[in-house]
């Protein structure tokens, strides 16, 4: 199971992973539901390389506003605790792995 983030553990997750990939989603979003299984697999495939977690933007609107999220699914990408990218939209697992390998 991929870690679910909220206001209380978001910052500590970003701090404890050199690279953190956070899947921002909501239950009624069709593309997000398609992203779900991809993110589950990514957390295994990227183990040791990047921390992968999920953020329900419906329940955590403060964090969504903090990071200017306007569309989901969005993958927030942090490196050394700095937001380096917001990848918007559904994308294949292989593209995400290739992206992380280039970071």
């Amino acid at each position: 199971m991929v870690t679910e983030l909220n206001e209380s553990n978001f910052d500590s997750f970003v701090e404890s992973n050199k690279i953190a990939i956070i899947d921002c989603w909501a239950p009624w979003c069709g593309p997000c539901r398609r992203m779900g299984p991809i993110v589950e697999e990514l957390s295994g495939d990227l183990a040791g390389k990047a921390g992968v977690a999920k953020l329900n933007t419906d329940e955590n609107q403060g964090i969504a506003i903090r990071f200017n999220i306007n569309a989901i699914p969005t993958l927030l990408v942090f490196k050394d605790q700095v937001l380096v990218d917001s990848l918007v939209g559904l994308r294949p697992k292989e593209d995400i792995i290739e992206y992380v390998n280039r970071l």
């Binding site: 909501a26 009624w28 979003c29 069709g30 593309p31 997000c32 539901r33 398609r34 299984p37 933007t57 419906d58 609107q61 969504a64 999220i69 306007n70 569309a71 989901i72 969005t74 917001s86 918007v88 939209g89 559904l90 994308r91 294949p92």
Partner: protein, 294 residues
């Protein structure tokens, strides 16, 4: 109404599925708009036995054949779908509810992007293609919905529950009249010129129309065409492929029993010959699942 087989889409794949399911003595309802078929208004020169022919002529004759076998047509799109006990339920643009034992998705592939300047660069920065996904980020902000069909009308009405101002740009409106009325009654401001460009510095600030009208806005939601096959599939429990196509077996079945797909929606080649072949198989498979005639 209740039907054995519901066919969504009335291009070559849907029509051929309708003909074969009807000939198995199933009650068949076909929903969709023939003019939206990818062969409407085109010349065909690579379809077996027809020489050079008109797409419209094939669609017209195909519909006549399907009607002759008993299929019933509704010139409207599906706006919601769900799997229910022992079958599937759908709501059409007119509000009519349909329950079926099996369903054939033959919607073809649709264009989702406008292709105007600013659209690609500002995607995720105010440009969105999914109102239901992203409406929550626009509480108290200004939104423009872009699109001519009922899907845009439904999105515009929904958006009034979130946005401070909702505008709707429709330049060739084909949405159901009662859905348009509901959007207007909810306070949506209508514009009738085609969008020209999205502008903004790092985020959407305005949508400019061809007639020069400038609409200041925080979000531009592009809702072209009918509900997509990917959305319909997901609502029925079928996970689409990454390119929005629907994976089927040799019997045109999907991962959900009773849900079949055929034609362009199952992937390339996007050819009439392939659509018709798959339509035949999907129609027969859907009839068998519905349990009517052998």
């Amino acid at each position: 109404m209740e039907t054995d087989v519901l066919i969504i889409g009335c291009g070559p794949a849907g029509l051929q599925a309708a003909i074969h399911a009807s000939r198995r003595k199933c009650s068949v309802l076909v929903v969709g708009k023939g003019r939206n078929s990818s062969i409407a208004g085109t010349h065909l020169d690579n379809y077996f036995g027809t020489g050079v022919t008109e797409g419209d002529a094939i669609l017209e004759e195909g519909r006549r054949q399907a009607e002759a076998t008993g299929a019933v047509f509704r010139e409207e799109n599906v706006i919601s779908s769900a799997a229910v006990d022992g079958g599937f339920s759908f709501k059409l643009e007119s509000g009519e509810e349909v329950v079926s034992k099996s369903v054939v998705i033959a919607t073809g592939v649709s264009r989702t992007k406008l292709g105007i300047p600013g659209e690609k660069d500002l995607y995720g920065k105010g440009v969105s293609y999914c109102a239901i996904c992203d409406c929550n980020f626009y509480r108290g902000r200004r939104v423009v919905i872009v699109g001519n069909e009922s899907e845009a009308a439904v999105s515009a009405e929904m958006m009034t529950n979130y946005a401070s101002e909702t505008s709707w740009v429709a330049w060739d409106i084909t949405a159901n009249a009662s859905l348009v009325e509901r959007a207007e009654a909810a306070g949506v401001t209508m514009y009738s010129s085609k969008p020209d460009r999205v502008e903004g510095d790092g985020k959407v600030e305005r949508l400019v129309l061809k007639d020069g009208t400038v609409i200041p806005t925080d979000g531009v939601f592009i809702e072209l065409g009918a509900k997509s096959a990917a959305d319909i599939a997901m609502d029925l429990g079928v996970m689409p492929e990454m390119d929005d196509s629907i994976k089927v077996g040799r019997d045109c079945s999907t991962e959900v029993p009773g849900v079949y797909a055929c034609g362009d929606v199952t992937g390339k080649p996007w050819q009439v010959a392939k659509a018709v072949g798959e339509g035949c198989i999907a129609g027969l498979s859907a009839a068998e699942h519905a349990g009517c005639g052998q």
